[in-house]
C-alpha cells in the first residue's frame, strides 16, 4: 500500500475534522483545561501528546500480534507510561522552565483518554504506518484545540501571547482590564464548548 494512499490520508485527516478527539470523540478534555492558561505550555503539551500518541501507536501496532489478549490493556499502559516518563525527563533536561509549568500534567498524559482510546480502537488492529498517521492526526487535533484555547485565554486573560505583551500600555491606561476569569480553568471548559459549537455548526457533517 502506498505511503500516502487515499486510505492513509484519510486516516491522518479524519481526526483533524470529523473524528476529532476532543470535538468529535470527546476524549482528553481534562488536560485541555489545565495547561491552557498560557500559550507556551499549551503548545508544548500538544506536541508532547502528539509525539507520545504517534509512537505509542507504532509500538503497539508492531507488537500487536504478540500481545496476550488477557493483559493487553496492561501492556498498552506500560508502553504509554514508559514513553511519558521518557518525554517528561527529556523536557526536564532541555526546556526546564516549561517543564516546571507543566509539572504534574505531563505525568497525567498517561491517563489521557485519547491515548488509550486510539491504542484500543486503532493500533491493535492496524499496521504500523497507518497507526503512526492515526497517532499524529489525533495528537495534532488535540494540539489544535489546546493552541486555540491557550491563545484566547492568554490574550484575554493576560494581554500577551507567548509571553510577549500584545495589548499596548495605552489601552490599560484608557481603562482596559485583563479578564481575570480567563486565567481560571472553568473558562477553558466554556471555550471548548464554544469551539465544539462552531465546529458542529460549520464543519461537521453527520455521516
Amino acid at each position: 500500500m502506498a505511503l500516502f494512499s487515499k486510505q492513509n490520508r484519510e486516516v491522518f485527516t479524519n481526526p483533524l475534522n470529523l473524528d476529532h478527539p476532543i470535538l468529535g470523540q470527546v476524549l482528553g478534555i481534562c488536560s485541555a483545561l489545565a495547561v491552557t492558561s498560557q500559550l507556551k505550555p499549551a503548545i508544548v503539551m500538544g506536541l508532547a501528546v502528539t509525539v507520545i500518541t504517534a509512537f505509542a501507536n507504532v509500538i503497539i501496532s508492531v507488537i500487536r500480534n504478540t500481545i496476550p489478549n488477557r493483559i493487553r490493556i496492561v501492556v498498552q499502559l506500560v508502553v504509554v507510561a514508559a514513553l511519558v516518563t521518557i518525554v517528561s525527563q527529556i523536557l526536564k533536561a532541555y526546556v526546564y522552565d516549561v517543564s516546571v509549568q507543566l509539572s504534574v500534567y505531563v505525568g497525567l498524559i498517561i491517563t489521557n483518554c485519547i491515548l488509550m482510546g486510539r491504542l484500543e480502537a486503532f493500533a491493535m488492529q492496524n499496521k504500523p504506518w497507518p497507526s503512526f498517521l492515526d497517532g499524529v492526526g489525533n495528537g495534532l487535533g488535540y494540539a489544535m484545540i489546546l493552541v486555540i484555547v491557550g491563545a484566547v485565554r492568554e490574550f484575554l486573560g493576560r494581554g500577551s501571547l507567548l509571553g510577549f505583551q500584545i495589548i499596548p500600555d495605552g489601552a490599560y491606561e484608557a481603562g482596559y482590564i485583563n479578564n481575570g476569569m480567563m486565567t481560571m480553568p472553568a473558562m477553558a471548559l466554556i471555550l471548548v464548548g464554544c469551539v465544539i459549537w462552531v465546529h458542529r455548526a460549520y464543519f461537521y457533517k453527520e455521516k
Binding site: N69, I71, V78, T85, I90, Y96, S103
Partner: protein, 297 residues
C-alpha cells in the same frame, strides 16, 4: 511454530520480558539526562536567589555571571543555606526558606540587609502544587513579593520574637505584609516559613545583645546587634567593633578591639572580667574574654 498467545506461561514470560526491557530503557534515560537536569535545577536556584535580590529578567549565562558577581559566600547553618552577598558594597544576607503550603511544599529566599536594624531587601517565594490564581500568587505575583521590601524584621528593640509576618489584618505596616486574598492557608504557610527561616538570625542577635560586654562584636549578617552607636568596624578581618561606653557595652570597656582576628575586646578589670584578670584577650578564636583565662586561677 504458532505461539499460543493465551497460554499462561507465554503471558508470564511476555510480561517479564516487557518489564525488564522497559526498566533498562528508563534507567538508561535517567542516567543519561541527569547531568543536564541537575545543571538546570542549580541554575534555577541561582535565578531564584537573584530574584530575591530584586535582580530579575536574567537567564542562562547572564544569570550565572551575575550570581558569581553578587553572591560571595554560601553557608550551611543546621541544614539551612544562607548566602552572603555584596551589592555595590552593601552586605546582604539571603536566607533560604522551606515550609508547607496548602497542597504541598513551599520554599523561598529572603534577602536581609541592615538599615537601622535587619530589614528586608527583597523576597522570592516558590511552591510545588498550590492553586493557580490563589496560593500560586506567592510565586507569580511580583507585586506581592515586592511588598516585603523595606519591612523590618524586629519591632523596636524587641529581639524576643520575629515581628516580620504575613497577616490578614495589618496592624503594624512596618513589619507586616497583607495575606494573598483567597489564599489564607498558603499565606499562613509563608508566615511560618519566614519565622522558622529567620530563627537563626534571631538567636544570633539575641546572643549578641546579651553578651555585648564580654564577647565583643562579631558581625555576621545582622549588623544591628550590639552596635547602635558604633556602626563602623575598623578592623581588617577582625570582627570587633568600636564601642561607645553605655551603648550596650559595659561602662569603661575599652573602645577598641585590639585583636587581629580574635573575637575578644579589651576590658578594664572589674568590667565583667575577674579582678586581676588579664586585660587582654589572648585567645585565638575564643569567644570569651578574660573569663576563660582566669577560670582556672
Amino acid at each position: 511454530m504458532k505461539l499460543n498467545t493465551n497460554s499462561n506461561s507465554y503471558i508470564i514470560i511476555y510480561s517479564a520480558i516487557l518489564v525488564i526491557i522497559v526498566a533498562f530503557l528508563l534507567a538508561f534515560i535517567f542516567k543519561a539526562l541527569k547531568p543536564m537536569q541537575d545543571a538546570n535545577v542549580a541554575l534555577d536556584i541561582k535565578k531564584q536567589i537573584l530574584y530575591s535580590l530584586n535582580i530579575r529578567g536574567l537567564d542562562g549565562s547572564e544569570a550565572e555571571a551575575k550570581y558569581a558577581e553578587v553572591v560571595k559566600e554560601e553557608k550551611d547553618v543546621d541544614g539551612q543555606k544562607i548566602y552572603l552577598c555584596d551589592i555595590d558594597g552593601e552586605e546582604i544576607c539571603v536566607f533560604s526558606l522551606k515550609g508547607m503550603g496548602l497542597w504541598g511544599g513551599i520554599s523561598g529566599y529572603l534577602a536581609i540587609h541592615d538599615q537601622d536594624g535587619p530589614t528586608v531587601y527583597g523576597a522570592y517565594f516558590n511552591h510545588e502544587s498550590e492553586t493557580a490564581g490563589l496560593g500560586a500568587e506567592i510565586k507569580d505575583s511580583q507585586a506581592w513579593q515586592e511588598k516585603f521590601i523595606g519591612k523590618k524584621v524586629f519591632k523596636g528593640g524587641e529581639y524576643g520574637s520575629i515581628a516580620l509576618s504575613v497577616v490578614k489584618n495589618v496592624d503594624d505596616a512596618a513589619t507586616q505584609v497583607d495575606c494573598v486574598t483567597g489564599a489564607t492557608l498558603t499565606s499562613n504557610g509563608v508566615n511560618d516559613m519566614i519565622h522558622a527561616g529567620l530563627s537563626s538570625l534571631m538567636k544570633e542577635i539575641q546572643q549578641g545583645v546579651k553578651e555585648c560586654g564580654t564577647k565583643g562584636c562579631g558581625h555576621e549578617c545582622a549588623k544591628g546587634r550590639c552596635h547602635d552607636a558604633a556602626k563602623e568596624c575598623d578592623h581588617d578581618g577582625a570582627k570587633g567593633c568600636k564601642h561607645e561606653a553605655g551603648m550596650g557595652c559595659k561602662e569603661g570597656a575599652a573602645k577598641e578591639c585590639g585583636h587581629e582576628g580574635t573575637k575578644g575586646c579589651k576590658h578594664e578589670a572589674g568590667m565583667g572580667c575577674k579582678q586581676g584578670a588579664a586585660k587582654e584577650c589572648d585567645h585565638e578564636g575564643a569567644k570569651g574574654c578574660c573569663a576563660d583565662k582566669t577560670a582556672n586561677e
